[in-house]
């Protein structure tokens, strides 16, 4: 009798443990809730790499904006490069695309851009202050900002498929 109770209790505990562990499948444990979603996008004043002109987010008030943080030392950013290029060509007249270079050198970035070309303005963030304001945790990361200047969401990984990018974009165009 005693043994029966012990076995039953043990098996219930085993079932509970397996249920708890199994329940965790399909959820990303690394996912940190993005606290800036729905909040006004922080303004910035940083220079463009091609003409040294200072650019602010407020210059684009009333237009949807896509901010892409990247670096030349980041392999996935390089794979993402042609995807961004293609999407910016398609949506460039309706959406503002801005690239922000993260923890990199001006000379490295300029030579990369000379070699690979770029379809939209690239800005330099020398002290990573903009990256800190936006809570960038790694590169590449892409932020989608609505017409009213609100951060709709961020995509914390490289885009490898233009269609996926377009789907995300449609949300801020609505």
């Amino acid at each position: 009798m005693k043994r029966g109770i012990a076995v039953t209790v043990s098996l219930v505990l085993v079932a509970g443990l397996i249920f708890i562990l199994g329940n965790a499948f399909g959820k990303d444990p690394h996912e940190v809730p993005f606290k800036l979603a729905g909040k006004p996008a922080p303004n910035f004043h940083i220079k463009r790499l091609d003409n040294d002109q200072v650019v602010s987010l407020s210059d684009y008030a009333g237009k949807p904006v896509v901010l892409n943080f990247w670096a030349t030392w980041c392999g996935p950013c390089k794979y993402e490069h042609p995807v961004l290029d293609a999407v910016s060509k398609e949506y460039g007249d309706r959406v503002v695309f801005l690239g922000i270079v993260f923890e990199d050198t001006e000379s490295n970035t300029k030579s990369f851009l000379r070699e690979n070309g770029w379809n939209f303005p690239q800005l330099f963030d020398p002290k990573s202050t903009v990256a800190v304001d936006y809570g960038v945790s790694g590169v590449p990361e892409t932020y989608f900002i609505s017409r009213s200047g609100i951060i709709v969401k961020k995509y914390p990984a490289p885009f490898t498929d233009p269609e996926k990018f377009s789907t995300e974009l449609e949300e801020i165009l609505r």
């Binding site: 043994r3 043990s10 708890i20 329940n23």
Partner: protein, 656 residues
């Protein structure tokens, strides 16, 4: 070699291994339960076949990695022509599929070594035990053949691959840390098989205890070294100035270590007093189950950990295995446990056996505290849909007091005799070590050291050291006095006559050293942070750190930016260091490489946080850590030395 040959050969060997393991498992368990010992050579043959196939498949993979055969999916995933040869070999375990394949080879080697060592002994238990071990091997061979198959062929191989995970390429310690842990984890299969075999048979004779104890000690030392090396690696690479963060995967390796350590102590009670049989066997079973749970934690992607870089879909298969394993253990203990009854009653708590029982309870408490803390985030999310993290404060507050008690018991236990202690003798024995502990606390306090936990740790460590040294050298002293031997001979003779005892005490000294290193480096570290322009300096403790400018370089597999710094110590001695940030092609973040200028008494640790190439300035995180290097340099030496002494074979007794 033409494309596809490696894949076909490697995968063919995996299938052969799977067949051999399944054959050995079925034959071993069925004939073992029927007590037909004549089938043993067949079981052994199956085990040998599994070992040879798995080792062969691994060697084929190493060949494919070295020859950059990108038609093999795994090579295309982790190989690269620019990766240095040593890291190409290391990439065997740098991603999920390869690491499970490597697991198979280690399991093969262990099973072969065990079956071969006892080929002429322990026939009555061997079939069942080998059968259980082969059943576990079957599961892993199935994983390699199916869900985690590294041998898939790519129809259009790429010209080059991305190379292994940058974190694994960033430090030479990564060459040995994972294999040590795997040797620890996989090795627990053997004591599990031994214990399960004994339970299935319903008896645990004295003779079968010897392999159980020895084959727990082997994975135990690998696990110990693996854990310490992991801490050392985190310290030397990650740049956050620590070596232990109670991360789920660190905890996953710590829990089986705790139960295996408890096991090692309870076996003494079993041998001397013929008690705690079932408890000891349960500890052997749980150590293995915890290694499997630990592997699940690393491999399933379910836990938030720095280590779970291998997101995978083997999780569900593993979970089914854990379920089967747990149910098997519960039923085994429930329906066979009564056959392993104690032959004597344990006496008072003030005895050697009493202190070991207490030691086992404390180990069990620490394991429970760590297990609950580790599982709590997913329990909370599963039951209450609430995302929570359990951080260091919980573990420190809950586990550290138990650890202090454990340390204290390491001194108390050896002072107590088996049976009943005479209180006067006990008082006499305790007076010198107790005074040493008190004096240590007073001296540390007089030198300005504060804090209950570190001072208590130093005091208890002094107490344990005196007890341990006395236990180590008293038999030698008696020989010096009685037989008039020299000290060297006396120590050698007394140690070789009681190898387990001597080795055990050397291990205790290793634990004391680690405890002192941990207490000193975590309680008395000095931290400083700041941004410097070239020529400027910053104080950290007694050291001045001058920034001499940025430097950069390129290696085949990475680019780096470094900060040249000069450290000037209290005695005006100077050292140069270059903390760096390494940039790997496939990494989304730079990988830091802090500089550690080590000295026996302290480490000066400088980590480059950020730099600005326009102004040439750099931001640093700096620490001075007292005694931290004792943990790895001395800790590993003492633990390994003690274990080797304990494992050293006794001379065979010749019947007269």
């Amino acid at each position: 070699m033409s494309a596809g040959v490696n894949s076909t050969l490697g995968y063919g060997l995996v299938l052969l291994g799977l067949a051999c393991a399944a054959f050995a498992a079925i034959t071993g368990i069925v004939t073992g339960m029927a007590r037909k010992e004549s089938a043993l050579p067949w079981v052994r043959g199956g085990v040998y076949g599994f070992a040879a196939s798995m080792i062969g498949s691994n060697l084929t993979m190493v060949y494919a990695l070295l020859t950059h055969d990108f038609s093999v999916k795994y090579v295309a995933q982790v190989g690269s022509k620019s990766t240095p040869t040593i890291f190409s070999i290391v990439s065997l375990w740098s991603a999920l599929e390869g690491s499970i394949l490597f697991w198979g080879a280690i399991m093969g080697a262990y099973l072969f070594a065990f079956a071969f060592t006892y080929r002429k002994e322990h026939g009555r238990y061997m079939q069942l035990s080998l059968g259980v071990m082969a059943a576990i091997a079957t599961f892993f061979a199935f994983l390699i053949a199916g869900p985690a198959n590294p041998w898939t062929q790519i129809p259009f191989p790429p010209l080059d691959g991305p190379g292994p995970n940058p974190l694994l390429q960033n430090h030479p310690l990564m060459i040995i840390h994972p294999p040590m842990l795997y040797l620890g984890y996989v090795g627990m299969t053997i004591p599990f098989g031994i214990a399960a075999g004994a339970l299935l048979r319903g008896e645990l004779g004295d003779a079968w205890m010897v392999p159980l104890r020895k084959w727990t000690l082997v994975p135990w030392i690998f696990l110990s070294i693996g854990i310490i090396l992991g801490g050392w690696w985190a310290y030397a690479v990650l740049g956050w100035g620590g070596y232990w963060a109670w991360d789920p995967v660190e905890n996953a390796s710590f829990m089986p270590w705790l139960t295996a350590t408890a096991f090692m102590h309870s076996t003494m009670v079993l041998e001397k007093k013929k008690a705690l049989k079932l408890w000891t066997v349960a500890l052997a079973l749980s150590s293995f189950v915890l290694t499997i749970v630990g592997t699940f934690m690393t491999r399933s992607g379910v836990f938030n950990s720095v280590h779970s870089f291998t997101q995978s879909d083997i999780g569900p298969t593993f979970l089914v295995f854990i379920a089967v394993l747990l149910v098997f253990c519960v039923l085994l203990l429930a329906f066979r446990g009564h056959m392993l009854v104690a032959e004597t009653q344990l006496g008072t708590i003030m005895s050697r056996e009493g202190s070991i029982l207490l030691n086992n309870l404390v180990f069990a408490c620490i394991t429970f505290v760590v297990l609950i803390g580790t599982l709590f985030p997913i329990i909370s999310e599963g039951l209450f849909n609430k995302k929570l993290t359990v951080g260091e404060p919980y573990f420190n507050e809950m586990a550290l007091p138990f650890m202090l008690v454990m340390l204290f018991l390491m001194g108390v236990g050896p002072m107590l005799p088996w049976g009943v202690a005479d209180s006067k003798t006990l008082r006499d024995t305790a007076i010198i070590p107790g005074s040493a502990g008190l004096v240590t606390v007073i001296i540390c306090a007089a030198f300005g050291y504060r804090g209950f936990l570190p001072l208590a740790t130093f005091g208890v460590c002094a107490f344990v050291t005196v007890v341990t040294l006395r236990e180590l050298f008293l038999p030698a002293k008696q020989r010096v006095d009685a037989v008039k031997e020299g000290w060297g001979t006396a120590i050698f003779v007394s140690a070789s006559r009681a190898r387990r005892r001597f080795g055990g005490y050397v291990v205790h000294l290793g634990i004391v050293i680690i405890a002192v290193g941990v207490a000193a480096s975590s309680s008395y570290k000095v931290h400083s942070t700041g941004t410097l322009k070239p020529g400027e300096q910053l104080k950290v403790g007694d050291y001045s750190v001058r920034f001499d400018g940025l430097d950069r370089g390129q290696e085949p597999h990475r680019e780096w930016i470094g900060a040249k710094v000069s450290l000037v110590g209290p005695g005006a001695e100077e050292a140069i260091a270059t903390p760096r940030m390494n940039f790997y092609e496939r990494s989304t973040d730079p990988v830091g490489s802090p500089s550690v200028t080590g000295r026996w008494l302290r480490d000066v640790y400088v980590s480059l946080l950020a730099y600005d190439t326009v102004s040439g300035s750099a931001s640093f995180n700096m620490w001075v850590f007292p005694l931290v290097s004792w943990i790895w340099y001395l800790g590993i030496v003492f633990l390994a030395l003690g274990t080797l002494i304990a494992l050293f074979p006794e001379p065979k007794k010749v019947a007269s």
